[in-house]
């Protein structure tokens, strides 16, 4: 009987050792781990350049791809506990709470001259902490409007330059839309976290007071909400039930004249005859003034707990450069960040209905300086406004009451100053 137990114990030990070793990494002089979103685009692009990078530099790269929610959670817990599992991280302004855990990239940027040739203003749009830049930009997008260029031309309408013009044109647009049996404007009202886009793109007031508290500027907010109330009348009747995919499908199916959307979510499908009936008929509008279109900007950060910051920088610089900018756009449709890509003759002639406007919108777009809690609350209140439960005044009062209790992360304040979103 005893012998049996020895065997069992021995087997268990062997098993344990195997399990323990199961996740063990080989120690290589310089090994780094890059965390990013599993999307079949950014991660595939990283895999693509990995082999060449490793061969050239001798640095071993591990790519850790997570679904969006898990990526955010894992990055943050890693930083807060100082674990240093990920040397290079992907994220965006929602990481504001943990900015102090990233290293300053200023020295690297100075030495390498990184940032030359980026879309104008993009270095400032990257996150900063204590006056130092900590993020490098990739995969940008700006909330915008796709419209039916063919129908606009036929109706002899030109795309409006300001929101005032836009509002004046709305009835005419409706005439065209009605004549073609489509809705004037479609928007994913069923995805409430998207609701703030309609506010951001018309609002040029402040979000943070001189005293460093979250607040909406009253008169400007009410004006924006007024315009939105008018705009809502021109939306597809069921827009409050549409998800992002649904709204996109409407536009692709010729059921809407204008769609308010993230262009990067839809342009690939819009140009694919198998998925779209609007190939060659659409264009991206330049975002009317005033306002700051909502920016979506992935950034690469380097963790303070990385043992190989130099190798990490090398990887970051290899991932974001002019050559890959073109390549990743061609292969995966990842939004470029370099001016040169937007001026690339091949793309300019091929995407004349999209590229110039996108470059323009991107230079105007910024991240709102809102913490996750502040933004979520704002979105939910705007949702109630969309359903007609609140007046313009009511929205401003409700938001300002709650925002007074939410702390502004220091890093957010800094960035808000850089992008002019603090009370003057």
């Amino acid at each position: 009987m005893k012998r049996v137990w020895y065997v069992v114990i021995a087997l268990t030990l062997i098993f344990c050792i195997n399990v323990y070793g199961g996740g063990k990494k080989e120690e290589v002089p310089a090994a780094i781990t890059f965390s990013l979103m599993a999307a079949g685009t950014y991660d595939k692009a990283a895999e693509d350049i990995k082999a060449a990078f490793e061969k050239e530099t001798g640095i071993q790269v591990t790519i850790a791809a997570f679904p969006w929610a898990t990526l955010r959670q894992n990055n943050t817990t890693d930083l807060l506990t100082g674990s240093g599992q990920y040397d290079v991280m992907s994220g965006s302004y929602y990481l504001a709470d943990v900015y102090e855990h990233f290293i300053s990239l200023e020295d690297y940027i100075k030495k390498s001259g990184f940032g030359k040739g980026l879309l104008s203003g993009f270095m400032d749009k990257c996150e900063h902490f204590n006056g130092n830049q900590i993020g490098l930009p990739y995969g940008p997008d700006a909330y915008g409007m796709l419209y039916r260029k063919d129908l606009f031309d036929k109706g002899e309408l030109t795309w409006p330059k300001t929101w005032d013009e836009f509002m004046v044109l709305l009835p005419k647009m409706k005439g065209i839309a009605d004549a073609n049996g489509m809705a004037t404007v479609v928007f994913s009202g069923g995805a409430p976290e998207q609701a703030p886009c309609l506010f951001f793109d018309k609002y040029d007031g402040y979000f943070i007071t001189r005293g460093g508290k979250y607040q909406l500027e009253k008169d400007k907010s009410i004006a924006v909400l007024n315009a939105n109330k008018e705009l809502l009348k021109y939306m597809a009747s069921d827009f409050m039930g549409l998800s992002i995919d649904d709204a996109n499908a409407r536009f692709l199916d010729e059921k809407a004249l204008i769609i308010i959307c993230w262009p990067s979510f839809i342009v690939a499908a819009a140009d694919n005859p198998q998925k779209s009936k609007v190939v060659g008929k659409w264009a991206l509008g330049k975002s009317p003034t005033p306002g700051r279109p909502w920016l979506s900007l992935w950034q690469i950060y380097i963790s303070k707990y990385s043992k190989n910051p130099d190798a990490s920088w090398q990887w970051a610089a290899a991932y974001i450069n002019e050559e890959n900018d073109v390549r990743f756009f061609k292969q995966y449709g990842i939004g470029p960040v370099f001016e040169s890509t937007y001026k690339n003759p091949e793309f300019v002639s091929k995407y004349s209905y999209y590229f110039p406007s996108q470059a323009y919108n991107l230079t105007r777009a910024v991240n709102p300086p809102l913490s996750g809690e502040a933004q979520d609350y704002f979105a939910s209140v705007l949702g109630e406004f969309g359903l007609g439960k609140l007046s313009e005044q009511g929205v401003v009062d409700k938001v300002n009451a709650k925002w007074a209790t939410i702390p502004v992360p220091t890093a957010m304040l800094e960035n808000a100053k850089l992008t002019g979103q603090v009370q003057k």
Binding site: V19, Y20, G22, G23, F66, T70, T81, S83, D245
Partner: protein, 280 residues
């Protein structure tokens, strides 16, 4: 003359059972259909229900070298079997000991209830402290971190379940062993275990299901190497939509073993699911 009599009761029974079975099966069939459907069938308006062409591309992709599903499958198998072995072994020893002790000292009943507390605690809050713990033990991204987490959820359950079984063992059986001069170890192995084998089986099944399916805690302590299958599934959701095809294929792979498991072990499920409160 053969007389076929269909009573109203049997008609009603047929309708209800048929409808229930349909409600359960349709979603599964839909999942499987989607896993063998071409990309373009998802996009047409309205989308095609029945695939225009059958493809096993997503499965091939998943099992290919770049898909890495075999690594995750291996991880899942290792984690699940380790969790089952450890929780059942340690858990039933503890349950035996508690079952004996608490007949004499009331204090041990308290321990039993404290162990039960684990079931009433939202696991979300554990994530951060547990992560810190695993970091200090240098176990991040190791299978062992996942195993410990699952054992700590699964074992209390085993203890609770097995106490019920041990309590049912007649005193005489144990005493006969004592008289033969067997120590506690020998008695446990030779006399007690054989009688409670159904209990052990139940405990093993329940911990296996738990460990195979667990996502939240596993996903927070692994990054690259120690991923288990459920984590892989959620990887197909991105900010730009969902890759239905590959996601359905991987989901089918994750579901299948549990199906087979359920088929062969259903008679043990009841008692397990109710923490031993109902004897199936």
């Amino acid at each position: 003359m053969l007389k076929v009599r269909i009573s109203y009761f049997n008609l009603l029974r047929f309708l209800i059972v048929f409808f229930a079975v349909l409600t359960v099966l349709v979603p599964f069939c839909y999942l499987f259909l989607n896993s063998i459907k071409l990309e373009r069938d998802f996009r047409t308006i309205p989308p095609k229900l029945i695939p225009s062409e059958i493809t096993f591309e997503y499965y091939r992709e998943a099992f290919s070298k770049s898909g890495k599903i075999s690594n995750y499958l291996m991880n899942s198998v290792l984690v699940t079997s380790a969790v089952v072995l450890i929780s059942v072994f340690i858990g039933s020893l503890a349950a035996y000991s508690l079952s004996r002790f608490r007949k004499v000292y009331r204090f041990f009943s308290l321990i039993v209830y404290v162990i039960l507390l684990v079931r009433f605690y939202p696991k979300v809050v554990m994530i951060i402290p547990y992560f810190i713990l695993m970091k200090n033990l240098m176990l991040l991204d190791r299978l062992l971190a996942v195993i410990i987490a699952h054992v700590s959820i699964g074992m209390p359950f085993v203890v609770w379940l097995m106490i019920g079984f041990f309590d049912e063992i007649p005193k005489e059986l144990e005493e006969s062993g004592m008289i033969d001069g067997c120590g506690p170890w020998k008695r446990f192995i030779k006399i007690i275990l054989p009688v409670t084998l159904p209990g052990i089986a139940t405990a093993a099944i329940m911990t296996a299901i738990l460990s195979w399916n667990e996502f939240l805690i596993a996903s927070s302590v692994v990054s690259v190497n120690a991923k288990t299958l459920p984590i892989l599934i959620s990887g197909y959701i991105s900010d730009k939509g969902i890759n239905w095809g590959p996601m359905s294929a991987v989901s089918s792979v994750v579901i299948l073993p549990m199906f087979l498991f359920a088929l062969f072990t259903q008679k043990y499920l009841v008692r397990g699911l109710t923490f031993g409160a109902v004897k199936g």
